[in-house]
């Protein structure tokens, strides 16, 4: 019975269980997935246009090479020049475009009149792609800040990770009668991560929002350079508590690709359970957070209690309330007993009933619905433009759920629920999560009935110098790239769903009332920690 789908705008989730054939043993057939394509700086833009044209989904752009303090890290020392790589996903296949950035001095400075912030003697240059691929804007700004790469065409190049005292360098100038700025953070009123928001407002209406995040930038990626793969796992583990499984799983999959390994059926089932448990407690948390955003205390408390029950269950099953230490390279560390899984399935059933009942109360409460409808709209075109992912993208009508093409995981023929009326407002994002909760609970019930023992990964290929892992985290597609010789990490890059979606939050906030921002923000419920790294 479609208990969670009483909101009429969402179709019942359609979960086709795995076919008996796949039950028997072999997980989906292994196949290589990442191809590295070397191109020249001059064909950089064309190659991107072609990748977009042929249906590729942009999954991140990053720099490889000496970073801003060249030479501190031995792994960087023998590298000359900087390379930029751009990741595109075509279903379960990944294509990485790679081009060498040209030293700035060698480039004809045709950028007369435009000053490029932070350009120094050792700068490197590659044409910007933000005009054809706006979703890459943050990625280029990051590469500019941390690797001193210039992207002619990306004007103005605002600092992202570097925090400048010059307000004008990172905010959009908004002028006119009655406009003023409201600065919030980095320390917020509640128990929230650190980040700074600068609202440009007229009266109560937000005209524009500038974000300044990266207060929690710990240099995790740089710390991983030159470290063994296992240290990389520990580093990624601590990038974000609420996405710990998704992030470590993406990292692990990337490492396994580097090592030429493929998980067996038991390992892929174990991992799928872990990532769905993570989705379960996060979605419960996020629906509660949205209730908090409008001050609907009974909803907040009900979903907070459900999240607690889910986390207690997770603690019993996996030994840690956030599942730290449950994902490993090429092996499984999660094998609850039959008795434990039986108890877990019963508890999940009870959580399912109670969350369905609570969700109905939220759904049919007129004052709640009045507050969430037509607020914080992310329209379909903007969601596409910003490369939004996850529930936020699905609520705006983009049917992107990377679970349907995750051959390394155990999703069988999963057809994720799709909203019928994806209005892109807070109500739609709430409804998408409620529908997904039901899918997740059904998946967990089916997967926990399986045999989870003797999980391992077996060799299938020689390995590869670059591996890319994509996992559908509770907030959407998270990508992790590992470049390695098989023992030490040469470059680690984590582009989480939160990183992909932050620009969309700023966009969806413009035009709304300032007091609605907490609600709009919570309807995306993005992490700062996993963007900041």
């Amino acid at each position: 019975m479609g208990l969670m789908t009483s909101r009429p705008r969402v179709t019942p989730p359609n979960m086709v269980p795995r076919t008996p054939a796949s039950e028997a043993g072999t997980a989906s057939s292994p196949r290589p997935s990442t191809t590295l394509v070397q191109i020249t700086a001059s064909s950089w833009r064309e190659a991107h246009a072609a990748a977009i044209h042929s249906g590729g989904r942009f999954a991140g752009l990053y720099a490889v090479g000496p970073d801003d303090t060249t030479g501190n890290n031995p792994a960087n020392r023998d590298r000359t020049g900087t390379t930029i790589r751009s990741v595109f996903a075509f279903g379960d296949q990944v294509k990485v475009l790679s081009a060498r950035a040209v030293p700035t001095q060698a480039v004809e400075m045709r950028r007369a009149g435009t000053s490029v912030a932070g350009t120094s003697g050792i700068g490197r240059t590659l044409p910007s792609i933000v005009d054809i691929l706006p979703a890459a804007a943050w990625d280029e700004r990051e590469a500019h800040d941390l690797y001193e790469v210039d992207f002619p065409g990306h004007v103005p190049m605002r600092p992202l990770i570097s925090h400048s005292d010059d307000l004008g360098s990172w905010t959009v100038p908004v002028v006119g009668a009655g406009t003023h700025q409201v600065a919030v953070g980095p320390i917020h009123a509640g128990v929230i991560e650190s980040g700074h928001f600068r609202f440009h407002v007229v009266g109560e209406r937000v005209l524009h929002l500038d974000l300044r995040l990266f207060y929690n930038h710990r240099g995790l990626e740089r710390a991983a350079v030159g470290a063994p793969l296992d240290t990389g796992l520990a580093i990624i583990q601590r990038a974000c508590g609420a996405c710990a499984v998704s992030n470590t799983l993406a990292f692990t999959q990337a490492c396994e690709e580097v090592l030429g390994l493929w998980p067996d059926a038991a390992l892929s089932t174990q991992r799928t359970i872990l990532v769905e448990l993570e989705r379960l407690y996060n979605h419960l948390n996020d629906i509660g957070a949205m209730c908090a955003g409008i001050g609907f205390a009974p909803g907040t408390m009900a979903f907070a209690a459900l999240k607690e029950r889910a986390q207690r269950l997770i603690g019993r099953l996996a030994g840690h309330r956030f599942m730290f230490g449950t994902v490993h390279i090429a092996k499984g560390a999660f094998s609850p007993t039959r008795g434990e899984t039986r108890e877990a399935r019963l508890e999940l059933l009870s959580i399912k009933e109670q969350s369905a009942r609570s969700w109905r109360e939220v759904l049919f409460n007129t004052s709640v619905q009045n507050r969430v409808t037509a607020v914080g709209i992310l329209d379909h075109a903007s969601a596409e433009r910003f490369g939004a992912v996850g529930p936020a993208a699905r609520a705006s009508g983009i049917p992107l759920d990377t679970r349907s093409h995750s051959p390394r995981l155990d999703y069988g023929e999963l057809q994720p629920p799709s909203p019928v009326d994806p209005t892109g407002d807070v109500a739609a994002r709430m409804a998408v999560r409620a529908a997904e909760l039901e899918t997740t609970l059904a998946l967990l019930d089916a997967l926990l009935a399986r045999d989870l023992h003797d999980a391992a990964a077996g060799a299938i290929t020689e390995g590869s110098p670059i591996g890319v892992g994509v996992v559908e985290s509770p907030r959407g597609a998270t990508t992790c790239i590992v470049e390695s010789d098989g023992t030490t990490i040469q470059r680690l890059h984590l582009r989480t769903a939160s990183y992909a979606n932050w620009p969309a939050v700023a966009h969806a906030t413009a035009g709304n009332l300032l007091p609605d921002f907490p609600l709009v923000n919570k309807s995306f419920e993005l992490c700062y920690a996993c963007s900041d790294r």
């Binding site: 925090h163 128990v191 991560e193 710990r218 609420a242 009974p298 009900a302 907070a304 209690a305 109360e361």
Partner: protein
């Protein structure tokens, strides 16, 4: 709404939170100085029906100006040093500093030295240490309650 309230009532009853015999008050201001957010999740969880932080007389305040305790999570990033110190300076005296989680206690911190400011102990006098990665809601409440009951430093500082 009625269904929700009834559900909350029965959850709260089943949670069996033991009310402390003696209650004092303690206002806590939280600052995330580079955490992974799990410490925040557990701190937030202390307010749910299963732990009910407020029945111990402890509240989380919106401003450091009303706080007795500055509760800090995370490896201390360079970018958070200034906001952290201004929050501390905004507090009335006497005041306590609590390090929540292994990161804030300087244990097993991961990251790049160029982005981290070093241990919290070197920036502020730490009075309460709550180890764990993350500490559970029970452990957080325990630590705050015992510091509160001991009247630690709040009166003597």
């Amino acid at each position: 709404m009625f269904v929700l309230l009834r559900q909350l009532h029965s959850t709260r009853k089943s949670a069996r939170v033991t009310r402390p015999a003696r209650r004092l008050s303690l206002a806590v201001r939280h600052v995330d100085a580079g955490s992974c957010n799990a410490c925040e999740h557990e701190l937030g969880a202390t307010a749910n029906l299963f732990y009910d932080l407020s029945c111990h007389g402890i509240t989380i305040t919106a401003s450091p100006r009303h706080a007795d305790v500055l509760l800090i999570t995370g490896a201390i990033t360079r970018r958070m040093v200034t906001p952290l110190l201004s929050a501390y300076r905004a507090m009335p005296e006497p005041r306590l500093v609590a390090a929540l989680g292994n990161c804030a206690m300087g244990l097993g911190v991961l990251g790049d030295d160029r982005d981290l400011a070093g241990p919290l102990e070197q920036l502020l006098p730490v009075d309460i240490r709550i180890p764990g990665c993350p500490p559970t809601p029970d452990q957080i409440i325990q630590a705050l309650v015992s510091s509160n009951l001991a009247g630690q430093a709040i009166t003597s500082a």
